[in-house]
Amino acid sequence: MNLDNLKNHWQHHHSACGSEFAINEAILWQVKINKQMTHLNQMKWARIFESCVFLLIIFLLGQYIADNLSVSASFISASILIIFAIVGFAGNIGQIVLISKVDYANPVSQLQKDMFRVCSHKLQLTKLLLMSAPFYFAYVFIGFDVLLGVDLFKHLTLKMICFYSFFSVFLFFVMAVLLTKLDYKNISVVWVKNIINFVLGPRLVSLAQFVNKIDSNER
């Protein structure tokens, strides 16, 4: 087999297949958006909607903090939750910028990485939620205060406070390990793959594997 001959054949095949390839220009000139771009636009609108929701949460929590300006369990809980809401809001703005920057003329590896970042938004939200898990009592304190008007912290015994604090510290370490591992770079780890598959679906698992393969070859 001669590779140069094969290359020549291939390049001549170019004109042969092109001649039988018909383009309806009249319809093409009218096209302003296609399936992939429609999908990206839908994602952008979804992120804009989520940003509005985060903004509303930030506003409500801000108002709650302003109304409870004293060192109390409710004040600290709201302060913790507002940080997560701000992180969520900033992440969403980042996503909107990223979607606007998606360019199909970029090198393959860059576009595929961008696509993974854009499409794995649900995974980022899950991570944010998991990150707030060690502070789960912040939700409980605020819930009791807003819905029932009860300051739950005052009703907790020292033993219970110690138990919940220990559990929160334990959760913090579990989540720290979980969140550092939960990345496309660890897609070869079975449980990471299963979580990504569960949260994002098989298409994104395959995209993560592709991106990871490129990265590992470059290292």
Binding site: W10, I27, W29
Partner: protein
């Protein structure tokens, strides 16, 4: 888009539409998917043609878009809307691979390419177009050493496949 741009796009496409055919046939085993993918590639090129700035060859720009769309599309799952019903008015009419007159070598080459993974498919397609290792690396966003390593493995496999047929 102005008439001049339409004319420029049409001219460039006329010259290079074989690229779309090759990418589509290398990445899509299903004939209905091929039609759909060709349409998606073509419309992406048309929509983004405004951003083409002549810094690279038109064929290289076309390859980047075609490969990016094909790799993204290839990954779509079977949930895609029914494959048997295509719109009445199609933007592109792509011939079936078997309808295009081609040598036995080309048929075997297509068979070989379809067996490769997504990245290696892109590498061999660009290599066969006589692109340099640097251009392949830039198009794919990987290092030239990675291109060289992968290419030598692909060539080895290719030789084996062709030698097997000859023997």
């Amino acid at each position: 888009m102005s008439k001049t741009k339409k004319r420029l796009f049409a001219q460039a496409m006329e010259q290079h539409k074989g690229i779309v055919f090759k990418v589509v046939n290398s990445y899509c085993p299903n004939i209905y998917d091929r039609q759909d993918l060709a349409q998606e590639i073509l419309t992406t090129m048309w929509i983004t043609f405004d951003n083409y700035d002549n810094t690279s060859k038109f064929s290289t720009w076309m390859y980047r878009i075609a490969l990016n769309v094909a790799i993204s599309y290839y990954r779509k799952d079977s949930k895609r809307a029914d494959k048997t019903s295509l719109p009445d008015e199609q933007i592109v009419q792509i011939p079936d691979l078997s309808d295009v007159h081609q040598s036995e070598d080309i048929t075997l080459l297509y068979q070989f390419i379809t067996q490769l993974d997504e990245l290696n498919k892109a590498i061999i397609l660009l290599y066969l177009e006589n692109e340099s290792h640097e251009t392949i690396a830039n198009t794919l966003g990987i290092s030239t050493s990675n291109v060289s390593t992968r290419l030598s493995r692909i060539k080895e496999l290719l030789k084996k496949q062709f030698n097997k047929r000859e023997s």
